[in-house]
Symmetry: D2
């Protein structure tokens, strides 16, 4: 099968704009029904409770490929409207997809039934029903290498490096609708605990290989330390999780880490997870939030598993909370500053 | 609900011993049936092909909680019989579960229906139907901190640190049936790309916090660099994957990384994945191996998705290959040595 | 655990009213995204195409427990607005849930975490997170027996018996918002191919047992014959399927049955299925609509699988089509009349 | 894509023979592990308990496409060795697949990736990765019509009609390894509650259409009545269920039906279900056996859900019980005789 690359890469994914729809009455109707519609409604209401709770800091966890699937603007709207205080994500969402689009590239609509061998020959990468121009992805890798080459050779948390990516976009970005850029400008920390596991990995491997003796490193322990620090500072927290994987585990773990450091850190007070996984294989992604309670991580009072796919569920949950406008009374917590201050303190000492 | 901790923690998980069963005829019968039995049989045969292929290095990917679920000996048998050349895993399997058991602790049989609030009060952690004594897990965290405290303060790959954990166990371990120990002794590299996302993270956060100015770091880029080096050295490779997540992505990515470094690295020639996930949410864990072909990572000739849960499927796949005895002609590749040699070269230069 | 029945049965399930929401722009936005949101949007648009296609008769298939879950009004709105021409369902939806509510009973909100042994002791039946008063369900069984006792002892299709249930409700019903009642009044046939597999079965077993020599029977072949006749009459057809099971299979099969009877019956021209099942176990519920094409049942041009749960997806699909208003130009096909005419013809002959 | 039919239909599905393997030690090892391996082991042991329990009658429920997938001999071995006392199934297993093979036809190995439009053109039907010659299936339909044409025109339960199919095979069958034939010879009742929903439906629609005024009918109420009678006669019962759907519901319901008829019928004492479905959509197929307890159908003492696909799990469960040999002490219950006796009594009266 021969493939016309230009034709295949012609219909761009357009990001859904939750500010254009009214989800409030719909969600409130769904609350009176059953099954996942009710779970979805309850989850949306718990997220809104987090926004209403003056003392609650909100951590958004993102697994899977949400940005390429058209959910970028949902997340940008959360950032812009003080609906989130920290983000923990897979690298795919933050680097391959958001940073990639901020460089001016796009994702395209395809189909799960395309011939993958033919796609490979045409340098087109497929994610279920979306397509990426592999040549553009290589430019993204190179840009990461360039940023790394421009920085002092020391150990960075992924959060610190992603801040540098935001700084880069402020100068060189081509699309202001960017999670990395807006989080940078609003001082919202973005963590990618498995930072090499994406386009960033490719760029940084090139950086380290070309600079054997003078390269930066990404210290995953520092990530964990910083997020734990944030928990200690924030005290009360809520988790809004799209998918499972490392982001879910990482964000849940900080309660225990804070405790080990001698801090008084309450369980995550609120927790909502959207997932298509289930608990049958004992893996974390589908494990219930009740199970997380046995580990001393999550309270069972305000927890909700929603068995749904995020492209449908996330706009409805965030759209509901957007429509309820509790966020209008929230202040930006600008948690990136706590790390800067600490850094400053350390430097001055 | 009040809980009797001693009673709850009384039935230990016992690891299944595939060397005691004959899976060869069963798998060959299943090949003539349909659905997942046939997929399982085809996957087992592809794994055996990897063992028969003199040029093929085998990378085992482990996600989820396999070791606590009784699959530890399957993996140890693979190591002992030259049935695997590198391991990429979640931290849970390697640190919280294998290293933990090597320290003399156990996992216990429970039930998914226990009251998690009561478990939390009793310091018992639950994974679906298995239980862990949280106090023992804290000792595991502390041991990691102790090991870190004993090492020079530099940037380590997770592989390097896990080697140190193996060295520690050789001195102090209480159970010789250990993946970390046996991999160390056989020079088989073990990578945990999200190394902070487990008990190791807790130990290392304590290490870094108590040694603000003189601590080691875990460089996730170095992990990626090392595994890519291994790919370049190995050339032909096969993936046997239990679950998806970061290990799957990480191991698939090295083909692209090798290419970016200018090396001629063929696609993974063989790929088998056991998972209960499906492709509907566009996430990597359930994405088909055909999709990975579009990314230039996996060949479609010898690939097989098996939709099954690993506690059932893994013993059958590995047991089949064990029974076929192609491994008796395989040599240990001892890939840890390529990193040591490189290190030595660098030191001498 | 002791249970307060009155307290448990206090929060009624309220049926969602799609006429109150605007789904048009939302669905059209989702069409530009990916994964299941795009599948949902494409499915909604195909359903709307069915409504726009003057020659297309629409068969709605209902599996699972949709009515007790709050979707009754969605289906009633479809009937009232000429958005459906025939219904094929499980007995649960039609008898235990719709007819049951038409008798004046309700479904209640519960939780999946209740103690089922305690529920049993209190005569409360649970469906995931909804509850039913078992004593009221027994009244529903008895009413079916009463209706059967009042009818001539002959072989009925489920459709014929359900018409009699509609006639009964017109006299004795307590809630006009009923699928059985409204379908009766609009002459829309409702088939339940496994009619004994629900409350109707209990009622009819009592009827037959008390009237050993003078009872009616439910001839499942007649059902299949009638639905095939409808296909022959309708020629062009589209399927909108919630869940899989017998309704999906039954409705797909009529294309082949019509052919076997020597009629020229085209493939189902349109087909949309909402399901959480997948194809891995080879069962029909999750089998793709492409697979149905190999059987000569469904065309592949306008087919869409949507991997989502019906309580979320159905209101969005039907709500979109409601908002597009193509139904305003549709006439009621009143297919019940073709069976009446045939009956009349037979009687007169 | 053009297709070579003879080549595609060349590799036959061969039925797995559990009597050739030793599953006892494997299952007993799996009992000490976790997740689905432990669930599988517990389920196998509960099935063996049913066989050991002198008072327990065993009902086997079969949904999905198990016979075409290579599980026919497992079921025939259960019949031959008094390991089952009644069968409730979808029509696909019993008519399209078992009866079909008994007529001398075969199922073939294919792939889920074939082009379904091309298959349709070649009159090949696909079930996931298996293929059927549609022309042969039409012969199966015709044979059903022939059998119907040869019988007195009255109301039959599916069980009665399937007995006639067994009688037909005894004369005309080409493969003695048949569920329908062996169940007939051993007087084991086989129920297909949605009997029109398969090849039988096609044959019977032709029968009724060609004999408008003189045809038999299939009374689904009679099925329910007979199975309830069996429950009343048997008193203590256990369910072994492959998949969910109508067979699961139907077999569970007889406890309630018996009660309604004034009989003292205990809950199903044992219940094991193998399924890949889960409870998230509130549908019966994935509903937990605990939920069935709330309905007064199943006891929670010996119940086990096994989340696995039947082609892998069923041979292991039945193979384990076969190996334990409790069946050697069981007598054949020959429940078909209770219906014959009743019939005789009715005739004599």
């Amino acid at each position: 099968m021969s493939i016309n690359k230009a034709e295949l890469l012609s219909r761009t994914v357009k990001h859904i704009d939750i500010t254009q729809f009214d989800f409030v009455n719909l969600i409130e109707s769904m609350e009176h029904t059953a099954f996942q519609a009710r779970n979805l409604a309850r989850g949306a209401k718990i997220y809104n409770q987090m926004l209403e709770d003056k003392n609650c800091s909100i951590i958004l966890c993102l697994a899977g490929s949400l940005v390429s699937a058209g959910l970028k603007k949902v997340i940008v709207d959360m950032i812009d409207n003080n609906m989130v205080d920290a983000i923990v994500s897979t690298g795919a969402n933050i680097v391959d997809q958001d940073f990639f689009e901020a460089l001016g590239f796009k994702h395209y609509q395809g189909s799960p039934h395309l011939d993958d061998t033919a796609l490979q020959a045409a340098s087109i990468d497929r994610i279920y029903d979306t397509l990426i121009d592999e040549d553009e992805l290589r430019i993204c890798d190179d840009t990461i290498a360039d940023i790394a080459n421009s920085l002092p050779a020391k150990a960075y948390s992924s959060r610190e490096f992603i801040q540098e990516m935001g700084r880069y976009l402020e100068q060189n970005g081509k699309d202001p609708q960017s999670i990395v850029l807006r989080a940078y400008q609003k001082n919202i920390p973005v963590f990618v605990p498995a930072f090499s596991d994406c386009s960033a990995g490719f760029g940084l491997v090139m950086h380290q290989t070309t600079r054997q003796d003078n390269h930066l490193t990404i210290d995953s322990v520092k990530d964990f330390r910083e997020l734990t620090q944030l928990k200690i500072k924030a005290r009360e927290t809520g988790l809004l999780m799209m998918g499972g994987g490392v982001p879910k585990n990482f964000a849940q773990d900080i309660v225990v880490a804070a405790e080990l450091l001698g801090a008084e850190a309450p369980l995550h007070k609120y927790a909502v997870q959207v997932t298509v996984a289930d608990e049958r294989d004992g893996a974390l992604s589908g494990s219930t939030l009740r199970e997380a309670c046995s580990w001393g991580k999550v309270s069972v009072v305000y927890e909700q598993m929603i068995f749904a796919e995020a492209t449908i569920a996330m706009p409805m949950i965030v759209g509901y909370a957007y429509g309820k406008r509790a966020w209008t009374n929230r202040k930006s917590r600008e948690y990136n500053k706590i790390f800067a201050e600490q850094h400053k303190a350390a430097t001055e000492a």
